[in-house]
Symmetry: C2
Subunit: 342 residues, 2 copies
């Protein structure tokens, strides 16, 4: 097969259709402005030549790339993976494409990624949570790139955001345990230093306990990165360091599942002797038996809505600054009343 000429340009299409460059351009991007038969000729020529528009050139002329950037914490966390997929789908449906960067809860990496995406011309950006370097938002502001905060809600209502109250949801989990009669509660939290969601979740536990006059000794809190293995290790550490608790709250489902597995291996009956609650409601939570009591985080919906909101704003529509999603407590089998005192 003879190597045909390199990619045809719009000028080639115009020539083949016997029209000017301007008309060819309009025929393809603003069909209404061109007479039907002319448009037909252009479309035909484009199809025949296998014309593919040159995005960079178009972007340079229109100042739009039809691209949305997203900077996510580790995409391999199942909860973010779901949101990424949803976001990508939503954008694709509107002819937009996702520019994705991920980092390991490192705000400097987030800043660098944001710069890179803005430089690539992202028309809008999706960020996760409220913890950011000030420069990150400054870069976006300077470049006039609209952004959406996901997962968390900005109570100051200064930024567009879609998510739910991690503290509120955490309070619900804790109250559920308190209502069951638990008073000795432990927490396996995420990294509260670099992650406002983990911080708020832990704060929610504290709030709920404080409201009922229950103490949460420092020894009953372990911080660790999200993973099943870390959940196991943290649970073991708690058991060793401050035994006697009857319930443990995981900062997310993998951590809670780690605790659950550790209980199983040690022959600790769940929920008979130990109640366990998580946060996220990943698929597995509902498939375990007993099922994991947890908070349903609408991750796919966050992904979809973040995309929709951003696209709407880019289309000039006004969108409510804050969108709060429900994050209901899902009570399953891993929580029950504490064991009767001996």
């Amino acid at each position: 097969m003879p190597r045909s000429a390199p990619n045809p340009r719009l000028a080639d299409v115009a020539r083949a259709a016997g029209v000017s460059l301007a008309t060819a351009s309009r025929a393809l991007s603003e069909p209404g402005m061109v007479r039907d038969d002319t448009r037909g000729r252009v479309e035909e020529a484009a199809a025949m030549l296998g014309y593919v528009p040159h995005g960079a050139a178009r972007a340079l002329a229109t100042r739009r790339t039809r691209t949305i950037g997203a900077v996510f914490p580790p995409v391999d966390n199942p909860i973010f993976a779901g949101a990424t997929h949803a976001l990508a789908q939503e954008l694709a449906a509107a002819g937009y494409t996702l520019l994705l960067a991920s980092h390991d809860y490192d705000l400097d990496a987030e800043l660098a990624a944001t710069r890179a995406l803005v430089e690539r011309g992202a028309d809008g950006m999706v960020l996760v949570g409220l913890d950011h370097r000030p420069e990150t938002l400054a870069v976006l502001e300077r470049a006039e790139v609209p952004w959406e905060i996901t997962w968390s809600l900005d109570d100051s209502a200064r930024q567009h955001c879609i998510g739910f109250s991690h503290r509120g949801a955490s309070i619900r989990v804790t109250q559920h345990l308190l209502d069951l009669g638990h008073r000795e509660i432990a927490v396996i939290a995420g990294d509260t230093r670099r992650n406002d969601r983990a911080r708020e979740r832990l704060a929610g536990v504290r709030d709920a306990l404080a409201a009922r006059g229950v103490k949460l000794p420092a020894k009953r809190v372990v911080e660790t990165d999200f993973s099943v293995a870390n959940g196991r290790a943290a649970f073991a550490k708690l058991l060793e360091r401050a035994p006697g608790f009857t319930a443990v709250i995981g900062g997310n489902d993998p951590l809670a599942i780690g605790a659950l597995f550790e209980c199983r291996d040690r022959g600790i009956d769940v929920p008979g002797r130990m109640s366990i609650a998580g946060f996220d409601d990943i698929e597995l939570a509902g498939e375990l038996s007993p099922g994991l009591t947890t908070v349903r985080v609408p991750s796919a919906e966050i992904g979809h809505e973040a995309g929709r909101r951003l696209l709407a704003r880019l289309a000039g529509k006004v969108v409510p600054t804050m969108r709060e999603l429900p994050a209901p407590l899902v009570v399953r089998g891993t929580t029950g009343p504490p064991p009767a005192k001996p």
Copy 2:
């Protein structure tokens, strides 16, 4: 704060530094070509103005976007999520950015996404597996965009690829079960119509069984989409439709874990009465007890290496067409000898 002028352009930087546009450009992108003090002035001016290069303009001039496209099956499958993260990291480290599109095992969606990414100027592409619409590869060829096939290996060596033999790995799993003494084996496969990996894995089972003269009746094979819930359902179906098997092979770990959970719920001892093997080695596989026997799929490494290979090729280096990664069998506790015949 007075709205400062819109984003500064390179011309502004040049003016501020008292040099020409060309020199400013070289100072920032080809430091070696410019005298040190000149470069210093330009860099200073750029920093002061908060200059952010305009990617589209640069792309138009250089015909490079420093962007790699990836079209993945559902990114929320944990195994792809891991690869996505690894790929994004690898690219970021080299100053490249990931353009991500995901689809639900739909080859037409894959084609559309490929078109979109090529149009956006992806310098290279990452695809998964060998099943594609012919147009998909034609688009890439036409646009002269190098691509890497991941996960699968193209035995014809026509395409650059990095992955492993799904059939081979599947044969190892099956032999392991045969060696343990199993003869009645069932399979919960992924969708073999739209997914060459699932197809090859099933073929591997058939090969291994045939080699030892063991039959795999059609009733002992269920196809379903990847998920724990589907694994459960498929196992139940097998039990109902063709009971008497002593081992089941899952097309991936979630399916196998579904089967495992179903066994637990039904009081079927694993591995005493039922052996279960999976494929992928997701984190959970090793944390369960008993741990799931499975094939370790080096997903993160695939992501990293796909990125590295593509970048190397873009840099003009020659890279071996095929890179095979080990996918070892990991024997854990869910497989054991079949129960003694009654």
